[in-house]
């Protein structure tokens, strides 16, 4: 199990933004924090590191996402 802290920076367009937020909220692997302006705190929980990397790459590919910063990764044993 891997837990990662991310900041997802959204683009400013209101429509794409709402769509992206809805999409992220639906993903069971993601926990969303309260956005601060364009910056959204996100926690990603995946079964292993490879899945985590794939998830971050997937997020970066979304049209309303300007960038994804990975702040920390906890590689838990259990």
């Amino acid at each position: 199990m891997v837990v990662a802290a991310l900041v997802v920076t959204l683009t400013s367009g209101p429509v794409e933004r709402e769509l992206a937020l809805a999409q992220l909220a639906d993903d069971p692997r993601l926990t969303l924090g309260a956005p601060v302006r364009d910056h959204l705190p996100v926690v990603a929980t995946t079964d292993d590191a490879a899945a985590g990397v794939a998830l971050v790459e997937g997020l970066s590919a979304l049209s309303a996402v300007a960038r994804v910063d990975v702040l920390s990764i906890e590689f838990e044993v259990a």
């Binding site: 924090g33 309260a34 601060v36 705190p41 044993v77 259990a78």
Partner: protein, 247 residues
């Protein structure tokens, strides 16, 4: 005795009782660790002479023959490190700094005491302020400095200590005290900030920045306890720098 104080005493009684139970349980626990490792201490496999432990386990779990005792005791007195820091906002931080300032003449002054104290007896401040406690919404922060015996030498109450006395308005002053800066400096975005204040008498960072600190001042990484490994102190604020002298 005011109602608030009576409440405190009850709380202490409860804490003491809990402590006693914990102690007994702890002794039991210590035997158990030696005899049969329990399932969730997976990092302590049987019959391995040198334990390989993750840093997280070192931090979060006691080990060795007295592990159970230590854990039980620690649970009664220690800040709950398993409680996650709450996310903070600039408003939290501003409010925390304003609250701090309200109790200090200037940044670095000893804070006044916002509650009654026994004016005559040897101070019992450490009961709450040694490790800090939270009672309801109120937090007794742990001390920022090593213990001195005569607490009331530096800390005085914020209002007339005589029962029922009405504290007159504070005298007018033109003093404008030093206030906390906006924080330390960073060499680059993401670098650990420097410590913006003196660390003299403020070397227990957890006093303000730990889980018992005010929301807004808490560190986002309470697990790291060797603060000054990453955060540099100021030689000027700490009186280590050569001071310019008048002629």
């Amino acid at each position: 005795m005011t109602r608030a104080r009576r409440g405190l005493h009850l709380w202490f009684a409860a804490a003491a009782a809990t402590g006693a139970v914990g102690l007994v349980a702890g002794v039991e626990g210590s035997r158990r660790v030696v005899d049969q490792p329990i399932a969730d201490t997976a990092a302590v496999p049987d019959a391995v002479p040198t334990e390989a432990r993750s840093y997280r386990d070192l931090r979060n779990r006691a080990f060795g023959p007295n592990a159970g005792l230590a854990e039980a005791w620690w649970r009664t007195v220690a800040p709950p490190t398993d409680e996650a820091p709450r996310p903070t906002t600039p408003a939290d931080r501003a409010a925390a700094l304003a609250q701090r300032a309200a109790r200090r003449a200037f940044e670095g002054a000893p804070p006044v005491i916002p509650h009654e104290v026994d004016q005559l007896a040897a101070p019992a401040c450490l009961a709450c302020h040694e490790h800090g406690v939270a009672i309801g919404g109120r937090i007794a922060p742990p001390m920022s400095h090593p213990a001195h015996a005569s607490c009331l030498q530096c800390h005085v109450v914020a209002d007339d200590p005589r029962p029922g006395a009405v504290t007159p308005p504070a005298p007018a002053t033109t003093f404008v005290g030093l206030r906390p800066s906006g924080g330390g400096t960073r060499a680059w975005a993401g670098a650990p900030p420097t410590i913006p204040h003196s660390t003299w008498m403020r070397d227990e960072c957890a006093s303000c920045h730990g889980p018992r600190g005010r929301l807004g001042l808490q560190t986002p990484h309470p697990g790291q306890v060797s603060c000054r490994q990453c955060h540099a102190s100021s030689a000027v604020a700490d009186q280590r720098a050569p001071v310019p002298r008048s002629p």
